[in-house]
């Protein structure tokens, strides 16, 4: 019989090794899955992990990694702070949408004026939109003790309805021949979140994501607020004893994660996407939850995890088009990654030991 034995303290080695072990296990079991589907597993895994980085068309895919990875990292950083404190914002997708609507709306309000201050105003408006949307579950939790998981999640669907509404009404392109969707911000210079170096994929969202990583690292490791966030997550009673105000912490964590998700939405709509449309959101807000956990809620881990996730997205698309793998198989593959990560995570706090059976 195998028993789990709690370690006297968490193993440092395993906490670093689990993500790597999880990736290897995902490759092995993903390979088995692809083999069952009748594809060459080595070729399929190679396509997903190798092709985007070093393949023939890597010059095209590499910028895409930044474009896909940046919103994931930006949102996941915000979520991770809340998750660390045991505050579960599941509605980043909604905050992402509201950030895009507010950001794009602020920009389009100036159309066709060209001025340097338009883009900064859009950035502020985007962050404000996401913050506002996250403040709804935050306020309800602090005031009435509602469950932030449910409220934030349900507000995603409200946000999607708002998105449909503004795409068809308020923000619809008057010169769009009746098609739904706003003016394309890519062709409005003052509002365009253009690549900073052409062809690199590096836009303001990528820069902001990197700043957020550094900011979160300093906050968690060097600042009292970060200490209180970690303390609240680990031992809520001890946090209260230490003098943490739980309500203030909820408002801060939900507000910040909302603002970062809003920023991600704003950078997306003013850059790679360009248009507020009904199907603007593609699930970054939900995938970011996986990224946050894959990165062990650690800022640097999230940076790496965001890159890995973007890689499986792009690699998965290549595998779909080149090898004819079904989209569902790629999703299973991504799901496996999270599954193995959480499973191996157990080894950080427990060791496995073979035991004689014993009358308990």
């Amino acid at each position: 019989m195998i028993v789990l034995e709690k370690r006297p303290q968490p193993s440092k080695a395993w906490s670093y090794a689990t993500p790597l072990v999880a990736v290897v296990a995902t490759m092995i079991f993903g390979g088995v899955l692809f083999a069952i589907l009748g594809k060459n597993p080595i070729e399929a895994i190679g396509t997903i992990f190798w092709e985007p980085l070093f393949g023939e068309f890597a010059f095209y895919y590499r910028p895409q990694l930044l474009v896909k990875g940046a919103p994931l990292v930006l949102i996941a950083i915000g979520l991770s702070l809340g998750f660390r404190a045991g505050i579960w914002n599941i509605g980043a997708e909604g905050q992402y949408i509201m950030g895009a609507i507010f950001g794009a709306g602020a920009g389009l309000a100036f159309y066709p004026l060209e001025a340097w201050y338009i883009f900064p105003i859009m950035v502020i408006a985007g962050a404000f939109g996401g913050w506002l949307w996250a403040m709804i579950p935050a306020f309800l939790k602090v005031r009435f003790g509602t469950n932030e998981i449910l409220v934030s999640l349900m507000l995603v669907y409200v946000a999607e309805q708002m998105l449909a509404s503004v795409s068809l009404g308020l923000l619809k392109n008057p010169e769009g021949f009746g098609f739904p969707g706003s003016r394309n911000l890519q062709s409005y210079d003052s509002a365009h979140n253009a690549e900073l170096i052409a062809g690199s994929g590096m836009h303001w969202g990528v820069v902001t994501a990197l700043i957020a990583v550094i900011f979160a690292y300093i906050l968690l490791n060097r600042h009292m607020l970060g200490f209180h966030i970690r303390l609240t997550g680990e031992a809520p009673r001890a946090a209260k004893f230490a003098g943490v105000n739980p309500a203030r912490l909820i408002l801060f964590c939900l507000g910040l994660s909302g603002a970062l998700a809003g920023l991600a939405g704003m950078f997306e709509v003013s850059g790679p996407s360009g248009v507020v449309s009904i199907d603007f959101n593609v699930g970054y807000g939900f995938t970011a939850i996986i990224v946050a956990f894959l990165g062990r809620l650690h800022p640097v881990g999230i940076l790496l995890a965001g890159g890995l996730m973007a890689l499986t997205y792009i690699g998965g698309e290549i595998a779909q088009s080149q090898l004819g793998l079904p989209a569902a198989a790629i999703q299973v593959f991504q799901g496996m990654l999270l599954f193995f990560l959480l499973a191996f995570d157990l080894l950080t706090n427990y060791r496995i030991r073979a035991a004689r059976s014993e009358v308990a």
């Binding site: 034995e5 006297p8 303290q9 968490p10 060097r222 600042h223 009292m224 607020l225 200490f227 970690r230 303390l231 680990e234 031992a235 009673r237 001890a238 946090a239 209260k240 004893f241 230490a242 003098g243 105000n245 030991r353 014993e358 009358v359 308990a360």
Partner: protein, 505 residues
């Protein structure tokens, strides 16, 4: 020589990293009250679990009246006439006494028959108990009676009692002892586990002392001094905390008319609590667990806020101030629950030093943490309080209970408080560490700190406190000078026998 009831031969049980019992042998005679004495972690519980069939020994044998005895499970042990009253009761609050007892039986008789048998047994042994009362309304002493009667219905040959008096007032202890004496006179043997020496001296015929899993000696308690037994238990000479005669200063902490509703469903409301503590004074607060101890600490630490004037520090109202503001003023606290309340289990000792030390030790600068200073502070605590750990980077939960307690108390003492409130400062701590903690508290008081010590250990309170008050259902009795208080008076302050009927044996 007559055959003993139960004979243990070389019982050994090892767990990963620790040998809980190492070659333990002793006999329990017929009709004997046998004490099993030892500190926390000495291996008493493991030994008893082996007798009760909960744990299987690695090696060694047991014989019951000359027959080999190796119970595979508690049911087998019960069938052979072994019964056990656990330290923590396993009763359902919503059910009545008879229903609770029926739940523990293999083939419960009809409720009416059971109720009359419960009446019969309870009257025979002087444990008056109405079988139709709801358990939720019973006091701790009465709940223990339910457990005892549950055992007596099996007509046991050996009754095992695990720390039975830890939840009782002195009066309730007397009632219990009369019952146990009656059982003994009828030929039932009792294995009595405790670390309270005076009780064992009054009650027990024979004592076996365990230290670090080994049987280190046997004695006849009535002929051995408590001090000798304690030294056998600890394995070294005990140091009694010293207290210098001292003068008290002005009132440092003044609590008046403090009433707080229960913070949770299972908590206790505090009702009109009054107390004053002068500089240099140690106020001991006794009482059976669950009578408002946690709530009182919460109110004093600032976790539970009250009206401003209910609590005054040096004349300044602080009832509305949170923990951080109170620490800044010099009011420090150490809660009972070490893991999860006083300390975060998975965080390092350095981080745990920061938990309460940030303000007074100035471990932050505009919110930015000074890790080097924090580590120094943690190392200072570890050194001054002899905390056994490889270093401050270790997680709090890797420490043993006693060592973590030394760290938690040390953390507050090192911050030089003006008022220190501690709850159960030596709970689950070995005797040497307990003496060190008490000495630290007394030293602090000698320097002029006003100390409030909440504890369920009356011996401890008698040893260190200058005045004594008791919590009973959220009410605090008027504090009285400790010297000259008798055990009876203390018992009455704690609520006497909690309305329990006295045994008529």
């Amino acid at each position: 020589m007559t055959t003993p009831l139960l004979s243990l031969q070389g019982l050994t049980k090892a767990y990963p990293g620790v040998v809980a019992n190492d070659q333990v042998s002793f006999d329990i005679g017929e009709g004997e009250v046998h004490a099993l004495l030892g500190e926390n972690g000495a291996g008493k519980s493991t030994l008893v679990k082996m007798i009760y069939g909960l744990v299987k020994p690695d090696s060694g044998t047991m014989t019951l009246r000359g027959q080999p005895f190796a119970p595979a499970e508690p049911r087998a042990a019960r069938a052979d006439g072994i019964a056990m009253v656990f330290q923590h009761f396993s009763l359902f609050d919503a059910l009545n006494v008879a229903e609770n007892i029926a739940l523990g039986m293999e083939n419960p008789p009809p409720m009416g028959d059971l109720a009359s048998r419960i009446r019969e047994v309870s009257e025979t042994y002087g444990l008056p108990l109405d079988p139709y009362r709801t358990v939720g309304d019973l006091s701790a002493g009465e709940r223990q009676r339910v457990e005892i009667i549950r055992c007596l219905l099996q007509d046991p040959k050996l009754l095992i009692m695990d720390e039975p008096t830890s939840v009782l007032t002195p009066q309730e202890v007397n009632i219990l002892f009369e019952t146990l004496n009656k059982l003994r006179s009828e030929g039932t043997s009792i294995l009595y586990i405790s670390h309270k020496l005076e009780e064992i001296r009054t009650l027990c015929d024979h004592a076996t002392i365990l230290r670090l899993g080994k049987n280190v000696g046997e004695c006849v308690p009535s002929q051995t001094s408590a001090r000798d037994m304690a030294e056998l238990m600890v394995g070294s000479t005990l140091q009694t905390p010293e207290r210098a005669g001292r003068e008290f200063g002005e009132v440092a902490l003044d609590v008046s008319g403090l009433s707080v509703p229960s913070p949770s469903e299972f908590g206790t409301a505090l009702k009109n609590v009054h107390m004053t503590v002068r500089k240099g004074e140690v106020l001991g607060i006794g009482g059976v667990a669950g009578n408002g101890q946690d709530e009182l600490l919460g109110v004093l630490s600032g976790e539970i806020l009250t009206t401003a004037d209910a609590i005054k520090f040096n004349g300044q109202p602080i009832g509305k101030l949170g923990p951080t503001a109170r620490r800044k003023l010099g009011v420090l606290t150490a809660p009972e629950e070490r893991l999860g309340h006083a300390a975060a289990p998975d965080m390092s000792l350095t981080e745990n030093a920061l938990l309460t030390g940030s303000v007074r030790e100035s471990l932050e600068n505009n919110g930015f943490l000074k890790w080097a200073e924090t580590k120094n502070f943690a190392e200072k605590i570890i050194k001054a309080f002899d905390v056994r750990t490889p270093g401050p980077e270790n997680a709090a939960r890797s420490l043993s209970g006693g060592n973590l307690q030394k760290f938690v108390i040390g953390r507050e003492v090192m911050q030089d408080p003006d008022v220190l409130v501690v709850n159960q400062p030596t709970w689950g701590v070995d005797a040497a560490a307990a003496a060190a903690i008490r000495q630290a508290i007394l030293d602090l008081a000698a320097k002029g700190t006003a100390v409030v010590c909440i504890s369920q250990d009356l011996d401890e309170l008698m040893e260190i406190s200058d005045s004594f008050a008791a919590l009973n259902e959220g009410r605090l009795s008027a504090p009285r000078p400790t010297s000259g208080l008798t055990v009876d008076e203390i018992g009455l302050m704690m609520g006497g026998a909690h309305g329990m009927e006295v045994a008529h044996v």
